[in-house]
């Protein structure tokens, strides 16, 4: 376990460094690093500190959040198909963000934007739990997710088209597929408080999720407070997904792919999978963000494109595996 965490940590560190080194402004890696750490008076320091650093930081924060949220939801629902993007939590959060931006509420006070996204994500999570029932059977879970995603997506489209701003109508792609381009340290600071709260809440779930492996009755009899667990899960997932979506749009499949890949390496234990997925998610989003900058440096290729290319085939594979249960 320690070895796995160390390896994943090293991977994240390497990808973080690579992310700092990639961009339209040409420079050697050494120069990038030195401009970042010391203000050498050239515009390159500005590039490093205000453009590349926030981008890399957001990739780590959002990737860790999505991996963590996916592992937590799967552990609670005992279903490997549960993840915030697939079951509509990310789209709900995006709807909250879009509404608060278009109505001007986002400008009302400092954290208005991520809190709006959080509130909308809460509604999404609660709806899913309501629709899917306590033992989250795959069929009802996926159907609930389709319904909520469709509804949220349609409402986002409606709000953007009603906007007085002529650019807004074209931005549904950003909201539904996600992008880290042109973000600043302001976005990092905006997302961090709510996200950190979510990390703390989700971090407390390890023991409970381990016990839930044996079912709700057994877990309850082992002293796990299931309603407190559920509350921490709901609020925690809403926090991390809300804050991340508010600044970068809805990024899907991370919470599906990462726990699935890492589960065998942690011996199936949900508590260990939480930490591993956080690191794995950070690595995945960093890698995807590097890929979009290498594949199409001039255009803003959305992160969701890379995620879908990785995630959709895996999703299909998972469905085939659980086909028996689905019928």
């Amino acid at each position: 376990m320690m070895r796995l965490l160390f390896l994943l940590g090293a991977l994240v560190a390497m990808l973080f460094a690579a992310s700092l080194a990639i961009g339209p402004a040409e420079a050697t890696f050494a120069k990038s690093l030195s401009s970042l750490l010391t203000d050498d008076g050239t515009p390159f320091t500005l590039v490093m500190r205000e453009i590349r650093l926030p981008r890399a930081l957001l990739a780590v924060m959002i990737g860790a959040s999505l991996g963590l949220a996916g592992a937590a939801m799967q552990g609670y629902l005992r279903n490997p198909l549960a993840e915030p993007g697939l079951i509509g939590v990310s789209s709900s959060a995006a709807l909250g963000a879009v509404l608060s931006l278009q109505t001007g509420f986002a400008a009302a006070f400092a954290l208005a934007l991520p809190l709006s996204a959080l509130a909308a994500a809460l509604v999404g999570v609660l709806l899913v739990l309501l629709l899917a029932g306590p033992r989250g059977a795959s069929m009802t879970l996926i159907l609930a997710g389709i319904a909520i995603s469709a509804m949220a997506g349609a409402l986002i489209s409606l709000v953007l088209n009603l906007s007085p701003n002529p650019y807004a109508a074209n931005e549904i792609v950003f909201w539904m597929m996600g992008s880290l381009a042109d973000r600043s340290m302001l976005h990092v600071i905006l997302a961090l408080p709510v996200m950190a709260l979510g990390w703390v809440l989700l971090g407390t779930l390890g023991r409970g999720l381990d016990a839930l492996t044996l079912g709700e009755d057994a877990a309850s009899s082992m002293g796990i407070n299931l309603s407190r667990l559920r509350l921490a899960l709901v609020v925690g997932v809403s926090c991390v997904v809300g804050a991340g979506t508010a600044v970068a749009g809805a990024i899907g499949f991370v919470g599906l792919v990462v726990p699935h890949i890492l589960r065998p390496f942690v011996g199936g234990r949900p508590s260990r999978l939480l930490w591993a997925s956080a690191l794995g998610g950070a690595a995945l989003v960093l890698a995807a963000d590097i890929a979009v900058r290498l594949i199409m440096p001039d255009r803003d290729l959305k992160l969701g494109v890379v995620m879908a290319l990785i995630g959709a085939p895996l999703f299909l594979h998972l469905i085939f595996k659980t086909r028996k249960e689905l019928s």
């Binding site: 057994a218 009899s221 082992m222 796990i224 199936g268 260990r272």
Partner: protein
């Protein structure tokens, strides 16, 4: 002699209908209690109500405890044999130590010792590194019993643990429970095999339609009249050199 479980007028309702009807019983240490009754008699509901897993009227000494105290006082093995994730047998059994771990999930020496003992008791030491959800149903059942054993509680409540096990392991499991009782712990096990109950249990509780209609040693409880009224069967019951032989022979209604 300490009382490990005390129920007083426990009643669990489903709508208007009492599934468990005014049950009062007291269980001390060193008892191997067989909970028997026909299908739908309320055996599972009684145990779950006693544990506080569903709302009930009346008193249960277990629900008076805090959840963490309760987890160290009683281990509950439900009928549904869920193992949600691909874990090794040893990992599953180690889950039983969760109530004893202060924070986090790392096992200490005493925890590892408890796990090893449980594995040995259920004849699973060779299976320790195999994936639990790739085992047969009967083997999985033994893994889950081992988990309950690893919890090392004074009281063990087990819901139909031997269904689907082969005869050797059926007898072996009941012998483990009897051995626990001999050590001073108590086990409440619900089961349909009246013969095994007669041979291994020190005390029998017979439920019918939610009511506790008999409470005593196997010989006292398993009378032909009761077996006819409650179960609708005729039995061959005799004490032999190999111990009590109990075999249902025919249906009476």
């Amino acid at each position: 002699m300490s009382t490990l479980l005390s129920l007083d007028g426990l009643t669990a309702l489903r709508g208007e209908c009492p599934v468990v009807d005014n049950v009062s019983v007291s269980i001390g240490a060193g008892e191997c209690v067989g909970l028997i009754g026909p299908n739908g008699a309320g055996k599972t509901t009684l145990m779950r109500a006693a544990l506080g897993l569903l709302p009930a009227k009346g008193a249960s000494s277990l629900t008076a405890l805090s959840p963490s105290e309760r987890a160290r006082a009683v281990a509950w093995l439900p009928q549904a044999r869920d193992i949600a994730w691909p874990m090794t047998v040893e990992t599953v059994v180690a889950l039983g130590r969760i109530p004893h771990l202060p924070r986090g999930t790392k096992l200490r020496t005493e925890d590892q010792a408890a796990v090893d003992a449980a594995l040995a008791e259920m004849d699973l030491t060779d299976f320790a590194d195999r994936l639990a959800n790739q085992l047969s149903g009967g083997e999985q059942a033994r893994v889950l019993i081992a988990r309950a054993l690893a919890q090392q509680t004074p009281l063990l409540m087990v819901d139909e643990p031997i269904a689907g096990l082969d005869p050797a392991h059926q007898i072996g499991t009941m012998e483990s429970f009897a051995a626990l009782a001999a050590e001073g712990k108590s086990v409440i096990v619900s089961l349909h095999d009246l013969g095994l109950a007669a041979r291994h249990c020190t005390r029998i509780l017979m439920l019918s339609q939610g009511r506790l209609i008999a409470d005593g040693s196997p010989a006292e409880v398993l009378t032909p009249e009761r077996l006819n009224t409650v179960f609708g069967i005729r039995v061959f019951y005799e004490n032999t050199a190999q111990g009590p032989i109990f075999q249902p022979t025919e249906v009476t209604r």
